[in-house]
């Protein structure tokens, strides 16, 4: 794989409007925090997409390892009782 020579990598999260959560939009290259924020602004919010931006150094993100997928995620597959819909609402109950 070719080495990335384009400064450090930052992940960009955009909030589309007040109150909603920040969603991952993509990434930018930048040498410092201010540049990362400005580059994110110039690339991801030029057409009115956002009202707030977060940038995070890509190397600060802790990611799960694909090799751990069976241990991490498979056990969730067959536990229907973890979903509230598994339980029958007692007749006449207004709130549970």
């Amino acid at each position: 794989m070719a080495t990335d020579t384009q400064l450090d990598l930052w992940e960009v999260f955009i909030q589309s409007r007040n109150g909603s959560h920040h969603t991952h939009a993509g990434s930018v290259h930048a040498s410092d925090r201010k540049m990362a924020l400005q580059n994110a602004r110039d690339i991801y919010t030029r057409r009115g997409e956002g009202s707030s931006i977060w940038v995070v150094p890509a190397n600060s993100i802790v990611a799960s390892n694909p090799d751990d997928a069976d241990m991490f995620f498979d056990p969730a597959d067959d536990k229907v009782y973890r979903h509230p819909t598994f339980y029958v609402m007692p007749e006449g109950a207004k709130q549970i």
């Binding site: 384009q6 400064l7 290259h29 040498s31 540049m35 400005q38 580059n39 110039d42 030029r46």
Partner: protein, 253 residues
């Protein structure tokens, strides 16, 4: 006394030309930026400037009342009929040259439009308020880069210092004040251009100081752009910019 509409027409045309010519310079960076993100940042500023140029050309057209359009001014004039400041037409040079030019222009524009937003002319005031939001960002972008380069490596420091020294002689013209400026300023329509010089110098000094750069000694200041007397660079730029409209008049897509 010259007709007030005529003065406003000249004023609007000058503002449009400054935005238009600088915009074209910045657009020359498209696909040539030092890296993708900066390429987009520079062309993004170019797009802000195109929008501004169009607005002021449209207003000039309205004041003139002869049915001309923004395109007529942009593409159908000769060099001597452009009234932009010489600084706006200076070549991109290296990245430091472009950034120094942008800082000088944007800081000037910031104080200019701060004042113009109080204009008694409603269109000027409204356009100034809109422009101001864009210019604030242009300053942040340029100033951050000046500091990064000035306070960076020995090579980046030297390049930005050379850029600042080389362009300095074109900054005096920004504060040029002729009859149009004086008459419109007295009427509360235009800006007292000279009063901006101290504000500009203070602002620039602060940025250069933070960037560990030296402020050039005051020297001879080249003027002429606002009278249509340009440097050799504008003609070449127009040659490229106007090629399509000259070769295929009224071409559309």
């Amino acid at each position: 006394m010259a007709d007030i509409n005529e003065l406003k027409y000249t004023y609007s045309l000058r503002l449009a030309d400054n935005a238009w010519i600088l915009s074209h310079r910045l657009s020359e960076w498209c696909s040539n930026g030092p890296f993708l993100e900066e390429d987009l940042a520079l062309t993004n500023i170019a797009l802000d400037l195109i929008g501004r140029a169009q607005a002021f050309y449209n207003y000039a057209a309205e004041l003139e009342g002869k049915g001309r359009t923004a395109d007529d001014w942009a593409y159908r004039r000769n060099e001597r009929q452009y009234y932009n400041n010489l600084l706006a037409e200076m070549p991109n040079g290296n990245f430091a040259d472009t950034i120094a030019r942008q800082l000088f222009m944007s800081v000037y524009e910031y104080y200019f439009f701060m004042s113009l937003q109080n204009s008694k002319d409603e269109t000027f005031a409204a356009l100034a308020a809109k422009t101001l939001k864009e210019v604030k960002y242009h300053i942040v972008h340029a100033a951050d880069w000046v500091v990064r380069l000035g306070d960076g490596t020995a090579e980046s420091h030297n390049k930005i210092q050379q850029a600042i020294n080389g362009l300095w002689m074109y900054t005096g013209e920004l504060f040029d004040t002729d009859e149009t400026d004086i008459m419109l300023s007295e009427q509360g329509i235009g800006v007292d251009n000279q009063s901006l010089q101290t504000l500009w110098e203070t602002h620039i000094s602060e940025v250069l100081e933070e960037a560990t750069l030296k402020i050039p000694e005051a020297e001879y200041m080249q003027t002429g752009g606002r009278q249509g007397i340009h440097t050799e660079h504008l003609g070449r730029m127009l040659g490229e910019m106007q090629y399509l409209q000259r070769a295929y008049p009224d071409a559309k897509w």
